[in-house]
């Protein structure tokens, strides 16, 4: 009733189905909520690295890497299907930040070296944002790459860098001579100062100050292709976030329906009260609208799909899944009553994860405004 599988043709392709089964088997061997709870607010990168290693072992890190670059060659949309599974299981695996974003960038740049790094086990993250509500090509880039006698100097401050703590390499967007470049920076380099910020769900992102000297070969891309490539990686990440948000909210909905069926008040299961029934139906309806939309976005996210199509799907799925997720989160707490507000019960972990993922890479409001800007009347999608 709640899985994306029925809503996506891609999910039923044998290779994809096999990959998803592998993810499920892996997740069955872990305990999502308990692990998630244990690692909350840990200042330590070890749990992140172990979780990443888990993904790598089961082939998830190279799932959407093209076969000719050493990966499984699944369509990029499969990332959202994997993310759904991770979301439902409340897995803390850093999939979007350390897999989808860097692989998405590699895909868009057709960068063999980037893919090689990933398939060989490097943990990468992407540092591109300098303030809230940003988008490459829309918000200006203040981080600069400048050449002088000593070499290339990278300076500036990136914010909200998810997955930096565990990473062994950072891909940094910078302005260079009126154009843009992506520089690869090892985190341990002198002149990199990372400040981790604890988030609602107990994960973290980082603000990072750069004042480092790089070599020419550290610049992995430059020129007009950089901004579109990065944008397309972010679009893919947002579709994957939507998948994860969907997995999280479908689990909250299940927990809530279970609770409605078992919790007795006034001598009846509370799920027999019509007012709660109708509200549960509205949550279900919102979830279904998100589900079929995400399914369509997944099926559209094939290699070579036009950038503007993915851009619209990214904003639509992110806006929709954030909205329905927050609605389900809020009502899930309310229908559970006191227990829903307690930290002992797992519900809150899902809720907080939804809050963080909704806000990261543009929240619903931002994406709706973005859609109004790129496709003012919605003609693109409708007629």
């Amino acid at each position: 009733m709640f899985s994306l599988t029925e809503a996506s043709a891609l999910a039923r392709e044998p290779e994809v189905a096999a990959a998803l089964d592998a993810v499920d088997r892996y997740l069955a061997g872990t305990s999502g909520p308990a692990r998630f709870r244990a690692a909350r607010n840990s200042p330590d990168a070890v749990p992140d690295r172990e979780a990443y290693a888990g993904l790598a072992e089961v082939g998830v890190t190279s799932a959407i890497v093209p076969e000719e670059m050493g990966g499984s060659g699944l369509a990029p949309g499969a990332a959202a299907l994997i993310a759904e599974r991770l979301g439902r299981a409340l897995a803390r695996e850093p999939f979007i930040e350390n897999v989808v974003l860097p692989v998405g960038l590699g895909l868009a740049l057709s960068s063999r070296s980037l893919m090689d790094a990933i398939t060989k086990g490097e943990i990468l993250c992407v540092a591109w944002q300098e303030g809230p509500f940003a988008r490459p090509g829309v918000t200006p880039v203040a981080t600069r790459l400048e050449r002088d006698g000593r070499g290339l100097r990278l300076s500036g401050r990136k914010r909200f860098v998810m997955g930096a703590r565990a990473s062994s390499g950072m891909l940094v967007l910078a302005e260079i001579e009126g154009s843009h470049a992506i520089a690869s920076v090892p985190p341990a380099t002198a002149g990199v100062a990372r400040q981790d910020k604890s988030l609602a769900d107990g994960t973290c992102w980082s603000d990072i100050d750069f004042d480092v000297w790089l070599k020419e070969r550290d610049v992995i891309a430059r020129g007009d292709e950089v901004v579109p490539a990065l944008s397309s990686a972010i679009d893919l990440a947002n579709i994957a976030i939507a998948g994860m948000l969907y997995g999280l909210q479908s689990r909250i909905l299940e927990l809530t329906l279970e609770y409605l069926g078992t919790r007795v008040q006034f001598d009846q299961p509370i799920g027999s009260f019509q007012a709660l029934q109708h509200r549960a139906v509205d949550l279900y309806t919102h979830a279904q609208i998100a589900r079929f939309l995400i399914g369509e976005a997944v099926d559209s996210a094939v290699r070579g799909a036009p950038a503007h199509v993915l851009e619209a799907y990214a904003s639509r799925t992110k806006a929709r899944a954030s909205d329905s997720g927050q609605r389900i989160a809020k009502e899930g707490i309310q229908m559970h009553g006191g227990i829903g507000y307690s930290d002992e019960y797992d519900l809150g972990l899902y809720v907080k994860r939804i809050l963080v993922l909704s806000a990261w890479l543009g929240n619903a409001d931002w994406h709706r405004r973005h859609l109004a800007a790129i496709d003012p009347l919605g003609d693109g999608g409708m007629t």
Binding site: Q268, G271, Q274, V281, G295, E296, A372
Partner: protein, 385 residues
């Protein structure tokens, strides 16, 4: 018969658009009535029929277009974009599919061609004064008498009654057992002795609904559709077809087009607050397309829409109403003048407000849809009905 599905979606759209632009009578555009009378749309109905474009949902074998889900959506879109009014479509979207599924060969050959020719125009006889949302409580009875049944009772809130020639109605043929058992679907010629009609004027000022009084009306037993006493199941099938039809993006798309035209004419898109509200609603509509395609594909693959389809009707009709409410709000003083067309040539906010009201009441109110989903889909305990 033309194989429409052999066309690419883009070519199909071009073809439908060209046809509508060329053959649709311009004076019918954005017609003030929710459903214009038969004489008003007859010519257009027959044009569609003559071109084999009347029944997008019927298989080609019965004279339909047999469209795929995506093409059916394009078909509706092109008609809505041009402001084409609703035709006498009850036979097309309701009785047709049920006859194709449950009818005898004799019934099929008797009725299907006459739906396409416009000779028979159908109304639906479900609701009664004391059985609106609670359909199982209906009181109209059909008692066997030789090879006929004698029907007594009253039907109400009947759409298309003004110019209908026939009605398919649900009547009680057995009184014992569960309320839902013992109901049968009959085909009724509205010219039969003992049938009286009374039209009901609605908020919009049009007599667009009606009541039918049935006083010892004799109907041949051959007019039973599906199994005797087994009408509830077929009726529910019918309701699911109806819900996928009500759940199509047609209604909110129509509203969006009207609001869009008005907003452009008035420069409302320069106002960020309006833009935000508009964008939210247009996404509600746009995202509904994905769910609608899912249910259409399900149907094409031979399955019934399933009780889940109620979510589509809820979403569609409530989005439709929200669009009409936003329209009324932004139109200010202009919104409450009773003239039919506004300066932009589109339908006025007021008409749209009226027109969108019954959509959450007819063919199973929103309350009934929510009850159904709670019980049959979410399996919540003790849920009604």
């Amino acid at each position: 018969m033309k194989d429409w599905n052999a066309l690419s979606d883009a070519d199909f759209r071009t073809e439908i658009r060209a046809f509508v632009e060329k053959d649709f009578p311009p004076h019918l555009r954005n017609h003030p009535r929710r459903i214009p009378r038969w004489e008003t749309t007859r010519e257009w109905f027959l044009t569609l029929s003559a071109n084999g474009m009347l029944a997008p949902n019927w298989p080609a074998a019965y004279g339909g277009m047999g469209l795929s889900a995506s093409k059916m959506i394009i078909y509706f879109e092109e008609l809505e974009r041009w402001g084409v009014p609703r035709i006498y479509d009850m036979g097309l979207y309701m009785l047709g599919p049920i006859l194709i599924r449950h009818g005898t060969d004799a019934q099929k050959s008797e009725y299907l061609p006459r739906i396409l020719s416009g000779e028979h125009r159908w109304a639906q006889g479900y609701s009664e004064p004391d059985a609106g949302s609670d359909l199982a409580s209906l009181r109209t009875t059909a008692v066997p008498d030789g090879d006929h049944y004698v029907i007594n009772g009253q039907k109400t809130w009947t759409t298309f009654l003004d110019d209908a020639t026939h009605m398919f109605l649900l009547a009680r043929t057995r009184k014992d057992g569960r309320k839902q058992e013992g109901l049968t679907i009959f085909i009724l010629n509205l010219d039969s002795p003992g049938v009286q009609r009374r039209l009901i004027t609605t908020l919009s000022g049009h007599a667009e609904l009606g009541e039918v009084f049935l006083d010892n009306v004799r109907v041949p037993a051959a007019n039973i559709v599906g199994p005797l006493h087994g009408g509830w199941t077929a009726a529910k099938d019918l309701l699911e077809f109806e819900r996928i039809n009500n759940g199509s993006p047609k209604l909110p798309l129509y509203a969006l087009n009207q609001l869009n035209a008005y907003a452009r004419a008035r420069g409302l898109f320069d106002d960020p607050a309006f833009r935000d509200r508009f964008t939210r609603l247009r996404l509600d509509l746009q995202d509904q397309y994905c769910a609608y395609r899912h249910f259409c594909n399900r149907l094409k693959s031979g399955r019934t829409p399933g009780p889940e389809v109620s979510m589509l009707k809820l979403w569609s009709t409530e989005t439709y109403q929200r669009l009409s409410e936003l329209f009324l709000e932004v139109a200010g003083e202009e919104g409450v003048e009773a003239d039919l067309l506004d300066v932009a040539g589109s339908l006025s906010a007021l008409r749209l407000y009226y027109r969108s009201r019954p959509s959450t009441i007819y063919s199973g109110s929103s309350e009934v849809q929510r009850n159904l989903l709670a019980k049959r889909v979410l399996k919540l305990p003790g849920a009604r009905p």
